[in-house]
Subunit: 677 residues, 2 copies
Amino acid sequence: MTTDPLVIFTPSGKRGRFPAGTPVLTAARQLGVDLDSVCGGRGICSKCQVTPSYGEFPKHGVTVEKDALNEFNAVEQRYDDKRGLKPGRRLGCQATVQGDIVIDVPAESQVHKQVVRKAATARAITMDPATRLFLVDVEEPDMHEPTGDFERLKTALKAQWNIEGLTAPLPVLSRLQPALRKGDWQVTVAVHHDHTGSAPRLIDVWPGYYEGGLYGLAIDLGSTTIAAHLCDLVTGEVKASSGIMNPQIRFGEDLMSRVSYVMMNPGGDVEMTGAVRDALNELAKSIAEEAEIDPRAVVEATFVCNPVMHHLLLGIDPVELGQAPFALATSSSVSLDAAELDLSALNAAARVYILPCIAGHVGADAAAVALSEEPQKSDDLMLVVDVGTNAEILLGNKDRVLACSSPTGPAFEGAQISSGQRAAPGAIERVEIDPATKEPRFRVIGSDLWSDEDGFDAATATTGITGICGSGIIEAVAEMRMAGLLDPSGLIGSAEQTGTPRCEPEGRTHSYLIFDGSADGGPRITVTQGDIRAIQLAKSALYAGARLLMDQMGVDTVDRVVLAGAFGAHISPKHAMVLGMIPDAPLDKVTSAGNAAGTGARIALCSLAARSEIETVVGNIHKVETAVEPKFQEHFVNANAIPHATDPFPELAQVVSLPAVGFNTGDAGGGRRRRRR
Amino acid sequence: MTTDPLVIFTPSGKRGRFPAGTPVLTAARQLGVDLDSVCGGRGICSKCQVTPSYGEFPKHGVTVEKDALNEFNAVEQRYDDKRGLKPGRRLGCQATVQGDIVIDVPAESQVHKQVVRKAATARAITMDPATRLFLVDVEEPDMHEPTGDFERLKTALKAQWNIEGLTAPLPVLSRLQPALRKGDWQVTVAVHHDHTGSAPRLIDVWPGYYEGGLYGLAIDLGSTTIAAHLCDLVTGEVKASSGIMNPQIRFGEDLMSRVSYVMMNPGGDVEMTGAVRDALNELAKSIAEEAEIDPRAVVEATFVCNPVMHHLLLGIDPVELGQAPFALATSSSVSLDAAELDLSALNAAARVYILPCIAGHVGADAAAVALSEEPQKSDDLMLVVDVGTNAEILLGNKDRVLACSSPTGPAFEGAQISSGQRAAPGAIERVEIDPATKEPRFRVIGSDLWSDEDGFDAATATTGITGICGSGIIEAVAEMRMAGLLDPSGLIGSAEQTGTPRCEPEGRTHSYLIFDGSADGGPRITVTQGDIRAIQLAKSALYAGARLLMDQMGVDTVDRVVLAGAFGAHISPKHAMVLGMIPDAPLDKVTSAGNAAGTGARIALCSLAARSEIETVVGNIHKVETAVEPKFQEHFVNANAIPHATDPFPELAQVVSLPAVGFNTGDAGGGRRRRRR
């Protein structure tokens, strides 16, 4: 009595017996093993590469003989000659089972492969793209069977790939007939599935076997900048990243001024929608050029953005978002054709997915942060802060997640700061102040050298030293506090009180001189008392928002803090905590997630499962409205002190001891305060 | 023991018992009685009008007392004062059941009302529109429940109208917020369902109760003319009809010359697509103006057209339709947004439905004829001929339907005829020839008088007598045959042979003079030997196509003949049969269906059930390809004689006796034929 050979796939462990001669790809499909194939076993696409293993496998209970597969065949040899096959590899559609065999499916041959992100703390993305390629042979037309070419393509896709109910938008339908004839009735189609059970869509069609790949854009549409990653939809690899300024800035620097612009200028929303769509086309074009990819191969885009940008992108008047109760026109995720957004720089049938919004102030960008940082899966209680013009704050763990937004204003981005500037070459981004000498040293964007290191002048000669950016001002203020130049109430001491001539009088207050370039016609970069007040307002709003969520959660401390946002990546946890931007926590539990919103966009681009997931997660996030919570004002006032008037910072105290200075007794501060009240 | 009152609805006969106080509308809904309501029982829309009946009803076994309903209430009184309620009518939402009652639902209060078409033979249309209005109250937004306005509208539609899974395109989404606020959270929405189970779509939204109605365009997109009916989607009423020339004529008079234009001029298809879409917008605009209807209320359009026009409308290169095997890009019905066809003159979210094509030569226009004339439901064997530049022919009954198209050429439309012209004022449309005197009389378009009647000259003074149109040439040729001026082979006799000087020599052949306007500088209108040959070619093609279908069906005769097409409406059955355009049949069984394709478009516009039906029907129609059937040529040759070389015409013979003349023995005809061979 003979039994069929046993086929065991790793890493899945799936196994089954198949008649001798069965192609490995066929066995994999029947067992539901995740083994990719675009050409469906025609020996063309090489996506189904596998690695057979030989010898004793006590774990699996088999011995694999040398002849457990057929010999390397002509199709494989041709591919190997042309493209090169890694040693030990076989094509799953050509290798046939002859005896018991153990077959490993390498990651790159899996459709649902995991893509490990660079950052050490970050989760992997499991590829589950909406749009995939399929090679298909279509019946030729026949005068006696007068069905259309599209209907015969549908029949073929059903028979060869089990894809049913395909629909085709006009731009693709118009490409179908020439492609079928040029490909001699064999075409590669890009088919889009979604996660809601809608009918699959034909996105494009190419004659014969198409090797150009499929790509998508993950777009973080911010109020100030628009950043995009161009990703390979098969490997998940980021092929290029690029950003441009949001041209809506000319209508208003921040969101509320853009909403005001619409209220004052009828049709202003249409203008702004046109401007941002034009910019997106420009960005898409340049990023595809940079990556040397045919824009037609860009078949998807995902968007994350705040609610105002969300509405302006969609062409919806954002005026309701400017006034209570801040009603969104739509809060759910939005799936639509790129053409509906005039995104002509992508494939003509490209699809767009916009992540859901959490609330009128907490947008798809915050949802993307949740998708990337996953507080909803955390055992620890996580505080995730996306720092920008508005701060979006998430607090939660696997039991419950709360969200709010807090109006920090633009100080953290270097705006409303006397020597402030955007983060650009020449901007001071890091500051240290010696507690003994009170002398500063600093680094500017564009150089890795500190200002007291050799070669600094040469390294910064081209950019100059032009101002101080968001992370720079945060470090400067925190360092001033640690060096005893600033008291807990936020007053800068005089030269006499602090013992350094860098504390200069400025009107009735004082400022601290970081850099004097005036001898060479450059700027004098100081931190003024006004700068301190601006930072205090911003950090109080941020802290109060976090504190409000902690109240709602019924906790006084959090286990972990994640700083997100492009800016969050550059904030030093220690300085943020000295400033009291964030609640006290062990410093090693305060981490940066970089552009978590952008990462969320990229995850949603690569994975339909992630889209389903974030839609569910957003539905379960409880939103807290800072504007109507009476406690917010109280938290805000208490958070004005540096680090805080009432909350203890025991974890911070273990690392940093803050000088117990007080400059309010002197005439400058005290006198000023009396007169103003 | 008391029992609840019995409520009996007529004409449905549905009945049930309901607690006293139940509104009639509620009872109707629970019993599934077809009683319309847009406002959902708020006493606003008045769509739910009913007529209660009182007295003895032995048939129903009830006696209805005077107080079987509540008294006419204030809401009804207000409506009656404002708009007037017909005597005896009540509003179904206000009238409550108090005792046993018989309630009639008048036709205009039914959603699925039957609309009787004008023509006596025509079927009624049962209204089943895709887009309907619903009044809905939406929850106000709340800062603590931050769902979007659209999501709350969805919730309300589910609760109040059981409409689930609504989607909204961007143009409507952008109108939602202002409408909700202006309507104080009550809006009327237009919701589109389709017959395929796709998610319902929000088409438009108006503040409060919207009374503007919903309309649709049924468009017959022909090669030469584009005709449209603007229909009320509630009543089915045609509010306006209009037509314009197809501007593609400048690229080629007939379909094949347009296909050639594309082949010779790359991008020519794009040009033609743009031209026809522009014309459609112009037509839509003018017809809405004529009917004094806001274009925004036009929420749907249906199209019927031949395959070449179908592809050019969709923006698909029609080149494959110009060569065997005449493959359609798509043969199924097409549902899409009007915006995808650039139809900006309709509602921004309007939907379009294009009927399915039967084959590469037998288009959606033929499908529409089948929907209108229903050979597939006939007990009789019906031959339906849609006469135009190409003739589409359907033959069948409820067992089986066959279809083909036959290249008749444009002769039937007056083209390629020496004095031919399009059907327009001044064109001769009817002709009679006295068999004794051989003298003609005729009528021209624009006057009801015959040319020998008093006042004819005055009546035609403005238009003049300018040429002869399609129906005119058919009558002229048939009358010439009946008067013995033309022999069965199609030769015109000389003056000597026929005894009338109106048979004039023209080269080696003869022509027959119908009208001589040369004294007044007008035309001499004659029927030349060349005209006879052109008509013979056309009618042979038509007859051969019909005969081929009869072969396939295994029959020698048909029970009924229906002439469709705008032109078919003007063909006299007797003359058509004398000419041998159509197979022999009892003359009273030859009828005209007018523009059956246009009617089919209108049926599909008013009824989703009709869309499902025609899709099924088209799938069952067996298409016969004339171009490759060897018998076609033989049928064509035999059909050249007038009426026919071999087929007997016994029914015709009972009505008309055709003179047994023969002019081939003379030198003119015979000599000519010898020399040309």
